[in-house]
Point group: C2
Chain length 197, copies 2
């Protein structure tokens, strides 16, 4: 019983993650009633991003040009490569401010049942870069899940075959974590991997 | 350190209600990585809605044409008018399935401090319709808030001056609740139990 163009907009907004019909309605009415400028900005920037954004030919992260801004930056350490699953992971590591090397974005993880093999996650491109001999350390920063671990192991083997050091992000208690609220799996690993102070 | 067009998109998405920078990033990356078709659909439908949607000249609800689909429907009871604050409230009452009359959408509520006087909420247009003599009952379905109550009282006075019955939704509605978020069962009961003002 509402306008057709409003219905279409509500339907389209439900494709956002975590947005059901009710939230989509709320978003649509907010934009149309209270923030038409913001709505115009979403239209323009989303269209522009869809048109311009591609994957960096070196690291597969999102980029406006052939190379992403990190790969194109000569100040970044070219000998260290951090392998992550998604562009969001790159943003997370960058936000930590603790890393100055390059990245390689898998855009997924090994999961044969879902049709994700070595080629789908760009390992041919990664092997090519390992062959070039510039990379001295590869940091395996895949997720702490079963598939993430399997993917990391697979890439560690590729590195070992070329005498390249492979390291993994330390696993343990998160900063600010109260021991009593940390899950037992994490705690058990943190105990096993305890280090001299 | 990410692509400029991605940054612009993330910035634009923060104008959605309840979406901060982190959520905006998640939405943007999801659309670009996993649902480009959905992203295209959002661009198209949002642009179309911005271009086409206007306010119905009779009830001020969103409409694709001069009249909204409810005002244009001859099967609706023309003698009963339900006054609500927002288009979302119309959708909520419609979803209850308990109402067959017309609506009047205030697009706000009386709030002199925010510059919302009788004219801003379209009461001149409402008075005009009350003058025409077709309306026999006016249902005051503003929110159960202080401003909502004041607005309802103001409109009840307009109705009383013209010997039109004014009723209010029964107070089954939780105090302080906005109409938009009430479940349709409660709303349906409140409609059925409306009482003379």
């Amino acid at each position: 019983m509402s306008a057709a163009s409003l219905d279409a907009l509500i339907g389209a907004l439900t494709c956002l993650p975590g947005v059901g019909r009710k939230s989509a309605q709320r978003l649509a009415l907010h934009l149309l009633q209270h923030d038409r400028d913001g709505a115009e900005r979403i239209v323009e920037s989303l269209r522009e991003a869809l048109r311009r954004l591609r994957h960096c030919r070196q690291c597969r992260n999102f980029a406006d040009d052939e190379l992403c801004s990190i790969c194109a930056d000569p100040a970044r350490d070219q000998a260290t490569l951090c392998v992550v699953e998604t562009p969001a992971d790159v943003l997370a590591v960058e936000a930590s401010g603790a890393y100055r090397g390059r990245y390689f974005v898998l855009l997924g993880k090994l999961s044969p049942l879902d049709g994700m093999g070595p080629e789908q996650i760009g390992l041919d491109l990664l092997e090519q870069q390992l062959e070039e001999g510039r990379i001295r350390e590869i940091i395996l920063a895949t997720g702490a899940t079963v598939e993430g671990d399997i993917t990391a192991q697979y890439i560690a083997d590729l590195a070992a075959a070329r005498d390249i050091t492979a390291t993994r992000l330390a696993r343990g208690i998160p900063l600010g974590g109260e021991l009593e609220f940390v899950d037992s799996g994490t705690l058990s690993r943190a105990l096993a991997a305890r280090r001299p102070d």
